[in-house]
Amino acid sequence: MHNFSSDKKVFLITGTSKGIGRYLAEYYLNSGNYVVGCSRSKSDLVNDRYTHFEKDVANEADVLEIFKFIRKQYKRIDVLINNAAINPRILTAGLLSYKMIENTYKVNIFAPMIFCREAIKLMSRKRFGRIINMSSMAVKHEVRGESLYTSTKSAITAYTKVISKEINNLGITANVIAPSAIPTDLSANIDQEALHEVLSRNAIKSLGEMKDVSTAINFVISENSSSITGQVIYLGGV
């Protein structure tokens, strides 16, 4: 077990095996913080301050196990980033299977709500916490064929705004970061022609960069950002 330095923050980031989650885990480790990450697959990220859980975020028992570790190891959590999400194949609403709807809602909505519930309880002990829920520009653009994914991201946005009002007096803020399309496995699954058509609606028409996400997150997780809550930050000039 490493020596825990209390002047650094404890991050819990979901979906850290690849994409934005992996980037954020490395980014916050590089600045000396402690990161607990999880994904359904193994992680090859090796760092003394990183702990990876190979878990299903949509399984409540798995989530509770992660929090049990955090309570034991760190006794606190400073920042929760609900990043894990699935973006199913583009499909018109008339063809969505029940299983597809169920799986997408479990990962994109049920999971972040359970993570938030447990994080709020832990954060409330220290009267400090920062919750980031990741959304998407899809909420603004309302793209054909993305009704399922978009509806989950709209839901997480509304949920975050409501909880921000509930938890404010516990010293906890909750905000939404909604990136533009960033080159990841998730965006690679999307029809590239459709993706560029959607990007053309943004002020910035090129793909976004990872640093856009960390810059926005740094702003809202700052200890000085205690009054910035219930906000949705769209990246890319949406």
Partner: protein, 91 residues
């Protein structure tokens, strides 16, 4: 495990964060409802303190969140006594 003692310890801690009024340490103390000194977020904090103390003592985490938590009639958090009975049933 002395669950009533755990609840009383949590009351001691929650009192540190209450400014105007304090929770009394007895079995009739109202935890949730009009007569409670706790608002809904204090209640979340209070519950998390109890969960933490149970975990520290037993090594097991139990979630004492309940869908009836905010129900005036059904909530296990009505009084210290009902909460104590509820936790004993969970353990």
């Amino acid at each position: 495990m002395n669950t009533l003692h755990i609840i009383f310890e949590a009351i001691d801690e929650i009192n540190l964060s209450l400014e105007d009024v304090q929770m009394e340490k007895n079995e009739d103390t109202v935890i949730f409802g009009n007569e409670s000194v706790l608002d809904s977020m204090d209640l979340v904090h209070f519950i998390s303190l109890i969960e933490e103390k149970i975990e520290d003592e037993s090594g097991d985490y139990i979630s004492i969140a309940d869908e009836n938590a905010m129900s005036l009639e059904l909530s296990p958090f009505r009084t210290v006594k009902t909460l104590n009975e509820y936790i004993k049933n969970l353990l």
